[in-house]
Amino acid sequence: MLSKLTGGKLYDPANGINGDTRDIYIRDGKIVDPPADSEIVHRTYSLDGKIVMAGAIDMHTHIGGGKVNIARTMLPEDQRGSARPKTDLTRSGGGHAIPSTLAAGYRYAEMGYTSCFEPAVLPANARQAHMEMADTPMIDTGGYAMLGNDDLLLQLISEGAEQQTLNDYVAWTLHAAQCIGIKVVNPGGINAFKFNQRALDVDDSHPHYRITPRDIVRTLSRALSELGVPHPLHVHASNLGVPGNYLSTLATMEAAEGFPIHLTHIQFHSYGAEGDQKFSSCAAEIAEAVNNQSNISIDVGQVMFGQTVTISGDTMAQHANHNHAHPNKWTCMDIECDAGCGVVPFRYRDKNFVNALQWAIGLELFLMVDDPWRIFLTTDHPNGAPFTSYPHLIRLLMDRGFRNDLMGQIHPEASAATHLGSLEREYSLYEIAIMTRAAPARILGLSDRGHLAPGALADIAVYHQHENPERMFERPMLVFKQGEVVVEEGRITQPVKGATQVVRPEYDKRIEKLIERRFERYHSIGLHNFVISDDEMAEGIGSQVNIHACKGSRT
């Protein structure tokens, strides 16, 4: 079947198209070249003046895995008041900050998102992460496997293992956990917390392994580069949330020694310790560092005011913050000599100095980092705010007047402590399309999406033009998933299932002997039952695997 989208204004930065009126043709789920005149177009969508973009990609959103389910278990109040009744087409569900998997999938699609990536897949918990994502309809998914707090990697680095051995272990992990990238969370810190260490800065020595977070970041970023994995090491840096932590963040950038790294939810890592409250913005210092170092990309982790829950692998930081829990309950967990997690509900208040400044710091970063290809729009869902606040965030970036109006409502000292009011930049639709489509696809190595050229998957979002970008982005006119209309006027019209996106770098299989021996001696699961096969993904977990190419791959 051949479909035609005609008359739409395309924003397709990967192909340099900035609001030009062009037609798009779709066949067999993909965008194709204009057909010969003799071919019959079976379906035409007249999109005169509508805004057309590739389906949006959220490259950092906690939508699946053990810690999300712990949050759901601990917080039944998050569901109450946010129920989503079943319809003839969709299942029931709900939730505000931690929606049920089904509700999450529907809501993402209803905002024009077609691919989402869970950034904290513990290899020991990868099955669950993939099962939850398989039960998240409408979107393709993928995950970043967590390394850098597992006792095996730390021991190998500590023993001075060769980089090649570490590369093999990293590659094996990507295969075994069916992931598309590697994330390190508080490098070595989650592990150090198990030895009762309460802080670990970039050059602090781990209490047992006598290595530093700097060693871990360097080793892992180099491994991914040498393996040709498209997505750089995804780093949740040391000292999250600690006043003065911008120095740790700068040191983490330096630790990569020029290898590509991605610093995630950098808003939480851009704090100074100046002023009466010993808490200040260092967004300018961080933005300058990002602007000056092309190997670095970031996502923001914007804070929005209201109730949410913070869920993180960073047990060390989450335990340190448990006194801020609102409501007053929290969970932490040590996991399988692999990593950990902490779940702390939180309410960001605009009249609280720190929270208000966090909000401003996120926006400062968005506005001070020059290159939209290296900064991504995230709230670190749900840690800064639920993903449903993205349309509001887009308006904050595109509309200076709106931004300044809201700045007038926050804690006055926070308002006085930020440069936000002087920042005149307003994002264009083209730049929004970069941040939410073209750039995430590029940094993840997804050549089949994030753009509208022939060959791309026909994952497309069509929006009504509206002077208020929040209205525009919260309710697309049409969303296509692989060529099928799945959303009309912001409502699901066809439920579909997505697939799991992975990479498969080559490695020396001899590493498996070492890992197997380790599992036999010290773990409580055999290696055979740890590794997830493609058949298991498709038949048991319920999500087909799509393999994306690594750089320099010989296959």
């Binding site: 278990t73 569901q79 129920a83 020991a124 309950k329 399988e336 010290y522 409580s524 055999g526 039952n529």
Partner: protein
């Protein structure tokens, strides 16, 4: 292949018999029969023997054998007529639970697990308080002190010593230096051999006093002005010494099985133990290891939580999920007559049958089930890990393990049956319907 291949000799079989989920069983098959099992405990042997002993596949309507086709038609009709169905038991694998939740959404059912009482002794504390827990591999390698609360851990989790408490090797502690403390209704000569060999310190107390004991420990660790004499000199002194040991330990683990805490308000014991762990973490490291998972309670609850946003004891009668850990207890819904149909799912144990009830009952059950009262409909189903592949959660709720397939005699998976029931209900779903039924 995930679906088809059955090997004669398997050496990494996961046993879904308790929450330990030992995955090192070596099983040898011969002509579809079980030839030998290595590494399994006595519960595992009984589990496999029972399953292989029963191969009857005939569904029954009111005790009379029928075909699967007629059984599915009848089941569909019962579900269609129900106004307030209760889906309970729920002893199944991940895909079985996925199918049950889809069917429950269509039918407006209320959901609870047969172990719901035990599970909510823990979950109510998590919902009020959160907790701080750990997993088997961490305990094996890190714990220098393990406090086992209660007295049934070995009865319920037979290989606990070998798999978790005292493995041959450990990364960060000498396992023979590990201090084991038993707090519960122990008699000195009752201690199972494998535990006794670890030279445990025994602090004997009756089950009713556990709440006081846990509260006292928590108070001592948190520097509250507690009166240790209140529990008597012996117990008070023992607990005071234990509190000091816990404070001095580098990584203590506090473990219990909520299933054995059958006294009223047992959640208060769990609350005290969780508070104790949290208090210890102010200065040193400690974590809880709640033991559970039997009859797939953790499995069912995990899937329910991610698909509905709420744990079990959730109802879908109004077209969206509503959760109440007190009101939606399956035993109460049944005895009060609030449900007009019971769908009982129990695929692991032939003994886990539904209670006698006047409520019409559909059983998707183990092929070896014997009924005191014949259900309206009984469809024998396969055992996950024997008749079909699947996924099953371990006690800690983190690790879900793949279950294998050992034979193919045609017993259907729960997922297959509930998905077929769901499909048969489908054509009627679009009809105008005033009541919130199927």
């Amino acid at each position: 292949m995930w679906n088809n291949e059955i090997e004669q000799m398997m050496d990494a079989v996961t046993c879904p018999c308790c929450g330990l989920s030992c995955d090192d069983l070596k099983i040898e098959m011969s002509d579809g029969q079980l030839k030998s099992i290595q590494n399994g405990c006595h519960l595992a042997r009984a589990f496999y023997d029972t399953a292989f002993h029963h191969t009857d596949q005939d569904p029954m309507i009111d005790g009379r054998a029928t075909t699967l086709e007629e059984a599915l038609d009848y089941g569909t009709e019962l579900l269609r007529q129900a106004r307030s169905p209760l889906f309970a038991g729920l002893a199944t694998d991940v895909n079985g639970m996925r199918g049950i939740l889809a069917l429950a959404d269509r039918c407006g059912a209320t959901l609870d697990h047969l172990n719901g009482d035990a599970m909510f002794r823990n979950l109510r504390v998590v919902q009020d308080n959160g907790w701080f827990t750990t997993t088997f591999t961490e305990v094996r390698n890190r714990a220098d002190l393990i406090l086992l609360v209660g007295s049934q851990c070995i009865d319920r989790f037979p290989r606990l010593v070998e798999r978790v408490l005292h493995p041959e090797e450990s990364l960060f502690v000498e396992t023979n230096q590990r201090r084991i403390i038993l707090l519960g209704p122990w008699q000195q000569d009752d201690i199972p051999t494998e535990l006794a060999q670890l030279n445990p310190t025994v602090i004997a107390t009756d089950i009713e006093s556990l709440s006081d004991a846990a509260g006292l420990l928590r108070g001592l660790v948190a520097d509250r002005p507690v009166d240790s004499d209140r529990l008597g000199d012996d117990l008070g002194n023992s607990l005071t010494a234990l509190a000091e040991q816990l404070k001095a330990a580098k990584y203590s683990v506090i473990s219990w099985s909520a299933a054995e805490l059958t006294m009223a308000h047992a959640e208060l014991v769990v609350q005290s133990l969780v508070d104790l762990v949290k208090a210890l973490n102010a200065k040193t490291r400690s974590a809880a290891l709640p033991l559970a998972g039997t009859q797939a309670d953790i499995t069912a609850n995990q899937v329910c939580t991610w698909q509905l946003g709420y744990p079990l004891r959730t109802r879908l009668q109004r077209g969206y999920p509503e959760h109440d850990p007190s009101l939606f207890r399956w035993q109460d819904l049944l005895t009060s007559g609030e449900s007009d149909l019971l769908l009982w799912v129990s695929s692991f144990s032939s003994l886990a049958t539904p209670p006698p009830t006047k409520t019409p009952t559909i059983v998707l059950g183990h092929a070896g089930m014997m009924f005191e009262q014949q259900p309206s409909l009984y469809i024998p189903v396969g055992v996950p890990g024997i008749d079909h592949r699947g996924h099953w959660y371990r006690s800690d709720g983190v690790c879900s393990l793949p279950l294998g397939k050992l034979r193919d005699i045609g017993l259907p998976a729960v997922s297959l049956i509930v998905n077929q029931l769901n499909e048969r209900l489908l054509p009627f779903a679009d009809e105008p319907e005033s009541a919130p039924a199927c």
